[in-house]
């Protein structure tokens, strides 16, 4: 794992990529820091700089992660990794940590800005709040990186990987507004769940190449949904809203911007990271069996 970590990390700085990405993120947060924190003397770094530049991660993360597994697969170097005595998890984690290390460089620059604020007279409480915000920002980035790595492992093409991760991140970014749109009523929830049931039935049918099974799955799921809709329609709307809430990757960070500290937010990001890394390892493992 260490070998892969070192190679990947050096790889980012062999070319322009590592420097360019770090400069990109540093420039955006530097600009907000200069204009808001320094210009107006606002000490809340989490809100005025990190939260306001968070959309930069939508571009940063896909470009950072697009190469990771897609390029290995295209150039067939995955054969070297997968036939060496390193487990799949070693490969996935080695790559993940190397990308987190690149991301942490940008975060280190943010740390410098926070220390500058402190040196300029911010209180110790603000310093602590700002550091907590930075920690959450870093974990949010790591979760997004894990997601990007997973998507990169699904394709051979870097561009497809980048566009897909961008779309997923954009969806997660816009999810709070989308959620309020869907909250209208249980009918909308029913329609969406029916759509999910149809997709599940289609996948089941295609995997087993059996029309009967696909139709059977769809009928069963629809009957279940209809029953639920008649008996307890509020469950459906609540479940729907809960699912959508879990997809708002950027919302838990808001808990940190008003000077508070939220353990659930950290747990959410850590579990999202773990989940995507698990998916990533499984998708690599699955390719062996196809």
């Amino acid at each position: 794992m260490l070998a892969i970590f070192k190679r990947e990390f050096r790889g980012f700085f062999h070319g322009m990529m590592g420097y360019l990405l770090t400069a990109f993120l540093a420039a955006s947060s530097g600009l907000y820091f200069l204009a808001l924190n320094l210009g107006y003397g606002l000490t809340d770094f989490s809100y005025y700089t990190l939260y306001r530049t968070i959309f930069m991660l939508l571009l940063y993360v896909p470009v950072l992660t697009m190469r990771s597994l897609a390029e290995e697969r295209r150039s067939r170097t995955d054969q070297l990794l997968l036939t060496s005595p390193v487990s799949v998890w070693g490969i996935v984690l080695g790559k993940f940590f190397s990308m987190c290390a690149v991301f942490s460089l940008a975060c280190l620059l943010d740390l410098v800005m926070i220390l500058v604020l402190w040196a300029l007279g911010a209180t110790a409480t603000t310093l602590a709040a700002n550091l907590a915000g930075l920690l959450c920002y870093f974990l949010l980035g790591c979760a997004a990186i894990a997601m990007g790595e997973y998507i990169s492992g699904l394709t051979e093409n870097q561009i497809i990987a980048a566009v897909s991760s961008f779309s997923v991140l954009l969806l997660a970014y816009l999810m709070p507004s989308l959620r309020s749109m869907f909250n209208a009523g249980s009918a909308a929830a029913l329609a969406v769940f029916t759509g999910i049931a149809a997709a599940a039935a289609l996948i089941a049918g295609l995997r087993t190449r059996s029309l009967t099974l696909g139709c059977g799955v769809f009928t069963l799921l629809c009957m279940g949904l209809a029953a639920l809709f008649v008996i307890q329609s509020t469950w459906l709307t609540e479940a729907f809203s809960a699912v959508l809430e879990a997809l708002c990757l950027f919302t838990p960070f808001e808990d940190f911007v008003n000077g508070s500290f939220s353990i659930p937010a950290l747990v959410y990001y850590l579990s999202a990271t773990g989940l995507f890394l698990f998916f990533c390892g499984m998708s690599l493992e699955k390719r062996r069996w196809n």
Binding site: L2, A3, I4, K6, R7, G11, H14, G15, S75, R76, T77, D78, Q79, L80, L81, L82, T83, S84, P85, V86, S87, R288, W289, N290
Partner: protein, 349 residues
């Protein structure tokens, strides 16, 4: 030692390898021979743990796959069909990375990298970027990578494809050297290469093992019928009458020779036994003097074409060009293209 039993691999329902069983003994060079699409690369990918078998058992040096995959992988050095190179690294960096990946201790890493580079003739290009290396050098970097970590078994997938004749000879020499200290498995669709390098040959066709044995042994035992060519002094009828009456002879052809009074005779034995003595005796008894008498031994190429079913007409057109000088590089360079043409024809059937 590698043991494979009842190995089957399917890609989306289409079998690439079907019910394959064989044992690879230590300290020998094995050649996997087969036309394109016969399943050579699939087998190698399964042996190295890159792919998993759909069913069947694979044991590498006592470690079953995939249960003890990490231990099994540590016993194997693998050069895939396309060398797995990071183009943005120098040869030195790449080999050091590969050594670390294979768990070579920090203290031994530098020595092993240098040793592998020396064996594959890479010392001069160590500080160069792999991107800037020619195909031959890239192939050698791939082989050097397979040597790192001192594996017992080295698996090379088509190691000489795309190399120039001098490089082909060098790589073959290297493989023979490696064969003294390691078990080597290489795949090829070039017969002369397998014949020149390997101790044991496995011939594959359409995902199935059709023959296994030493190259000479294969050529000998697999000829189901023996054919005798003879030149005799006498008339056509005389010769025909003398030979046709023999009990072991199945088919006789007599053609006039360039010289007067001489005829060429081709006789095929029905049972596969040696009929040279019988023919000589019969001809002498009929008053014809035997000028020459030879038994036709099948070349590995004939065996290959026969077993893989690559068309009999193809065999006839190939023979005169390839047969005479199989060990020379010229023929090696011709062989792949001709073989591929043959293979394609075979697969379309």
């Amino acid at each position: 030692m590698i043991e494979v039993s009842h190995l089957t691999k399917e890609y989306g329902g289409r079998p690439a390898v079907r019910d394959l069983s064989f044992v690879v003994e230590d300290g020998q060079i094995y050649g996997l021979l087969g036309p394109n699409g016969a399943g050579k690369s699939t087998i190698m990918n399964i042996l190295t743990g890159y792919l998993s078998a759909s069913s069947g058992l694979v044991t590498i040096a006592g470690h079953p796959l995939p249960e003890e995959a990490d231990q099994a992988k540590a016993c194997i050095g693998y050069l895939p069909e396309q060398p797995p190179l990071y183009l943005d690294m120098t040869v030195q960096e790449y080999l050091t990375f590969a050594a670390e990946l294979k768990g070579v201790k920090r203290s031994a890493r530098k020595d092993q990298v240098l040793h592998a580079a020396r064996r594959t003739g890479l010392e001069e290009v160590l500080p160069r970027l792999i991107r800037n290396l020619s195909k031959g050098y890239r192939q050698r970097v791939g082989i050097a990578q397979a040597l790192l970590g001192k594996p017992q078994i080295i698996i090379l997938d088509e190691p000489t494809v795309g190399l120039d004749p001098a490089q082909v000879i060098e790589i073959r020499k290297l493989i023979q050297e490696l064969g003294r200290t390691h078990t080597v498995i290489l795949s090829s669709h070039i017969l002369s290469e397998v014949q020149a390098v390997c101790d044991q040959v496995l011939i594959l066709s359409k995902g199935q093992l059709v023959a296994i044995g030493a190259p000479e042994q294969l050529s000998e035992t697999l000829s189901s019928h023996s054919v005798v060519h003879a030149t005799a002094l006498g008339t056509r009828d005389q010769v025909l009458a003398a030979v046709q009456s023999l009990p072991g002879v199945e088919k006789v052809e007599v053609t006039p020779s360039f010289k007067e009074d001489e005829v060429n005779l081709t006789a095929r034995s029905a049972t596969g036994e040696d009929i040279r003595a019988d023919i000589s005796r019969a001809l002498t008894a009929a008053g014809c003097i035997v000028l020459s008498l030879t038994a036709e031994t099948k070349s590995l190429e004939d065996v290959f074409l026969e077993l893989t079913g690559a068309g009999s007409d193809q065999a006839n057109t190939d023979e005169p060009e390839d047969a005479p000088d199989e060990d020379e590089t010229q023929s090696t360079q011709d062989a792949p293209e001709e073989k591929e043409a043959g293979d394609d024809a075979g697969e379309e059937e």
